[in-house]
Amino acid sequence: MSQYQAVAEQYGIILRLSDLAELTSKHDVVGRALYVLGLHAAETYDILIFNVLAAASNVYYPNSKTSSATLVASDKVGYVDLTALHANLMDQGGRPFDDGDYVFVVAPQVNASMLQDPDFKASNQFGKPERIWRGEVQELSGWRIVKTNAPGFAYVAQTTSGYADKVFYSFAIARNAYQISDLQNLRVYAAAPGGQTDVLQQNRKIGYKFAFKAIITNQNWITAVISAGQNTKNHA
C-alpha cells in the first residue's frame, strides 16, 4: 500500500441570524439557511475535487485537436472518443468501478451532445428507449456517464484571437485514480441564541466546516477530456 503526505486545507462559513430576522421573515429562515449552507458546502467540495482533476497530466481532445484554443463546435465527444479512451485506460491497467465500468463525468452540455450521437441513439432506440426519454446516456462503450451541473463544470470561454467558443472539461476516471482525505466529515453546526455574550438572545449562529485534501495518486488512470458542448457555437 502506498502512503501519501499532504497538508489539509480547512473550509467553512458561519452566518448569524438576528432575532428580528427570524421574527419578521415570512418563511423559515433557519431551515432555508441550513439548506443553502449544506448546498454551499457540497458544491465547494465538488469544485475542490474538480480543480485537482483539471490538473491531470493526460489530456484528450476530440478530432485530434491538440489545444483547447482551436476547438470548434464540431469537436464533440462521441462514441469514437469513448472507445479510444476506454482502450487507453485498460492499456494503463486502470481498474473499473464495482459495476464493471469506468466513470465519465460530464457537464450537461457535453451530455446533450452525447445524447445526439448517432451511435448512442442507434444502440438504444429499440432496446432501452427510456434512456432517450430521460435524457440520460447512462452507459456507453464501457463508461458510466455521470452528468453534473456542479459549478466547476461551467464552460470556459476561449481567449485565443478569433476564437470565442465555449469549451468544457470532462473526466475519464478509473478506480483509485485520485484520493480524498477523510479527516473531518462535512457537518453543519447550529447554535441556539443565548449565553453570556448574548443575554438578550439576539443571535443564532449556523455554519459548516470541513478539512480537505484531494490528490491524484495515479496519473495513468485519469484523463481530462476537453471538448465542445451542445451549445458551443463557432465564432462568426
Binding site: 501519501y4 503526505q5 499532504a6 497538508v7 489539509a8 486545507e9 480547512q10 473550509y11 443553502v36 448546498l39 454551499h40 458544491e43 465547494t44 469544485i47 475542490l48 480543480n51 485537482v52 483539471a54 490538473a55 497530466s57 493526460n58 489530456v59 484528450y60 481532445y61 485530434s64 491538440t66 489545444s67 483547447s68 484554443a69 482551436t70 479510444a84 487507453n88 459549478p151 466547476g152 461551467a154 485534501k213 490528490i215 491524484i216 496519473q219 495513468n220
Partner: protein, 98 residues
Amino acid sequence: MADTISKAVVTAVAPEVDKSNWEWVEVPELDSFGTPHSGVSVNFEQFRPGRHFLAPELAFTVKDLLLKKLRADQRVFQKNTDQVALRLMQKNGPQKKG
C-alpha cells in the same frame, strides 16, 4: 492492374512541413517531490522526460500541462485555501441560484 505508388514517389511529392516555428519543450527528469517525472500526454501521445521538438499548438499544450502539474504538486503541501474554488463559488454557488 491496380494503381500503385511507390514510397519514393510519395516522399518526392509530399509537401515539406514547415518547422521554422516549432519549438523545443523540455520535460524535466524529476518532479517537485524529487521522484521521476511521469511526463504528460496529449491524445495518448506520451511526452516523457527529455527534450521534444513540437509544433506551436502542441508545444503550448505540453507546456501548459507541465505548469499545471507543477502547481498541482505544490498544492499538495500548501495549507492555504483554494482561491480559484472560492471565486467560482462566489460566481456560481448556491447564493446565485437562490
